[in-house]
């Protein structure tokens, strides 16, 4: 589903965020991306969503080499990916329903069909009773679940999440991660950037660790456990 082949990313100014990174994530996998802050996790996510372009190497997503995707093709590419952010990126002047419906409106899905899918997505994240509220009155965990509903409403084959539990307490974090597990069970490929090593260990999924822009095979916090996919 996601293949990085000797990918480097150098930002203007010379800072190299990723160096010679290669890995393969199969369709249907759930993979965690870990590493200290500034290790390049966000950059890697951005390359997948075409928020940035590689300096060297190739990124292939869903069988498509992203180097061949022109500017005009970027929206179509992003519609195949559900993106979840640490800060939710919800629109605060719109209701929960309208926030979740946005990807469907953008994709030109008809009103009744959109309504059905939005309610299905809200039902999955357990927020069906809050569809008329504005995001501002929701708790942090609820806002993140709205963000997840928005990411999955268009049934994308790939979900990527950048520190989705960064602002949440442990109990809520587990809940959110379980939600990602549920989507993974129905065939969605999931890539989550997180520094919550304890949580990742508990879930027992494969992880990739970045260290100063390079993939590292060091185990998490040196406690001897390995998590090979």
């Amino acid at each position: 589903m996601i293949q990085f082949d000797r990918v480097s990313k150098r930002y203007p100014g010379g800072y190299e965020a990723l160096s010679d990174v290669s890995f393969l994530i199969e369709a249907g996998e759930m993979v965690f991306l870990t590493g200290h802050s500034g290790a390049g996790k966000s950059t890697l996510m951005k390359l997948v969503a075409l928020l940035e372009r590689t300096s060297r190497g190739q990124v292939i997503v869903d069988g498509r080499n992203l180097a061949g995707v022109k500017r005009s093709g970027i929206p179509q590419h992003r519609r195949k990916i559900g993106i979840i952010f640490q800060d939710h990126k919800l629109l605060h002047d719109r209701t929960v329903f309208d926030n979740v419906a946005l990807p469907l409106v953008v994709a030109g899905i008809g009103h009744s069909e959109a309504r059905r899918r939005v309610r299905a997505a809200l039902d999955k994240v357990g927020l069906l009773d809050k569809e008329r509220l504005f995001p501002v009155v929701l708790s942090g965990g609820e806002q993140q679940r709205v963000g997840i509903a928005r990411a999955v409403v268009n049934k994308p084959p790939l979900l990527i999440a950048d520190e989705p539990t960064g602002n949440l307490d442990p109990a809520l974090s587990v809940e959110i991660m379980k939600l990602f597990g549920l989507f993974n069970q129905v065939g969605v490929t999931v890539l989550i950037a997180s520094h919550d090593h304890r949580l990742i260990r508990r879930l027992g999924k494969r992880h990739l660790m970045l260290d100063h822009g390079r993939l590292s095979d060091r185990p998490l916090h040196g406690d001897g456990e390995t998590f090979d996919g």
């Binding site: 249907g28 519609r79 195949k80 629109l91 409106v105 009103h111 994308p156 969605v188």
Partner: protein, 318 residues
């Protein structure tokens, strides 16, 4: 993978959704504008004034043209015959002139008739009574055919008539009319210049307003780009916003012009009355109204295109 793949709606479904989205954008942008009434009113007011000025000037020139056209119907050559030429001879000359293509009608005013007219209009009745004989010559009033509008076209006819033996002199008093036409032509050019400048002002005003709007909605644009909103999708509400500004500006301009017209209508009617003329000011009419609103919408749309083209690309999600 199969379970998670995107299901594609039908072509008709997409088309319907596309039309619905356009309709929704059109109404939601109007709703958004109405939720900020003061800011919207100020922008629309500026556009209205900018559009009203050239429209009003155009109306002034149009009315003067209509007025001078009614004077053109009075465009004629006065042919003064030599003293001693009798009415039958004058009638004979009139008949020859009537046969010509460049003559519409000829009226013969005999000396007696001319004297009676003069007596009535000049107020010198008592003085005229002291004259022993009528000093006035017979006069032919030659009018061009209906199609002739410019005084210059009458010059050849005037020359020919002047050479006739019975003719004393010919008067074609059109120089003032020609000057008026020249002034109107200059005024019209001036209006074009003013209209172009104010049109640019409309484009720039709307462009700047939309630029601010884009900056205020930066987050919304970023999120929309993140979830796969196309450039056209993101552009649309801003273009419709510009469109509404233009329509609002055009309507305001039409109201301002109507108001100005109403203000001068009374005095103009009184002036026309003093000249014994039934002249009334003509307003914009349906065509002019449509042109004003349409021009406003078009210019404002163009302004928002400029802003959108310049500033939307700058906002990329990070």
């Amino acid at each position: 993978m199969a379970k998670a793949s995107m299901s594609g709606p039908t072509v008709f479904g997409r088309l319907g959704a596309w039309a619905a989205h356009h309709g929704h954008s059109l109404l939601s942008t109007l709703g958004r504008l109405s939720r900020a009434p003061v800011a919207t009113a100020m922008t629309v007011g500026v556009l209205g004034i900018a559009l009203a000025l050239p429209a009003a000037l155009h109306l002034v020139v149009d009315n003067m043209r209509a007025l001078s056209n009614s004077w053109e119907s009075a465009l004629h050559i006065s042919v003064f015959l030599k003293p001693g030429v009798r009415v039958p001879e004058a009638e004979a000359l009139a008949t020859t002139l009537r046969a010509r293509d460049d003559v519409g009608s000829v009226r013969v005013i005999g000396p007696d008739e001319a004297l009676a007219e003069f007596r009535e209009q000049s107020g010198f009745g008592a003085a005229l009574d002291t004259l022993r004989e009528n000093p006035l010559p017979a006069v032919l009033v030659v009018a061009p055919p209906a199609g002739i509008t410019s005084p210059g076209a009458l010059e050849p006819l005037r020359g020919e008539i002047e050479r006739h033996a019975a003719v004393d002199f010919v008067q074609l008093d059109t120089q003032w009319l020609q000057r008026l036409f020249a002034i109107l032509a200059i005024a019209q050019r001036g209006i074009i210049v003013v209209a172009v400048l104010l049109g640019i002002a409309v484009v720039v005003t709307v462009g700047n307003t939309i630029r601010l709007d884009i900056q205020n909605r930066r987050q919304e644009i970023e999120v929309t780009k993140l979830i796969g909103g196309s450039d056209a999708f993101i552009r649309r509400p801003f273009l419709y916003t510009g469109f509404w500004y233009g329509v609002g500006g055009g309507l305001t301009a039409a109201i301002l012009v109507a108001f100005a017209l109403f203000a001068v209508e009374g005095p103009v009617a009184r002036l026309a009355g003093l000249y014994g003329s039934g002249f009334t000011l003509s307003g914009l009419g349906m065509g002019g109204f449509g042109a004003l609103v349409g021009t406003g919408a078009l210019l404002a749309w163009a302004g928002s295109w400029v802003a959108v083209g310049r500033h939307l690309d700058e906002i990329e999600p990070t």
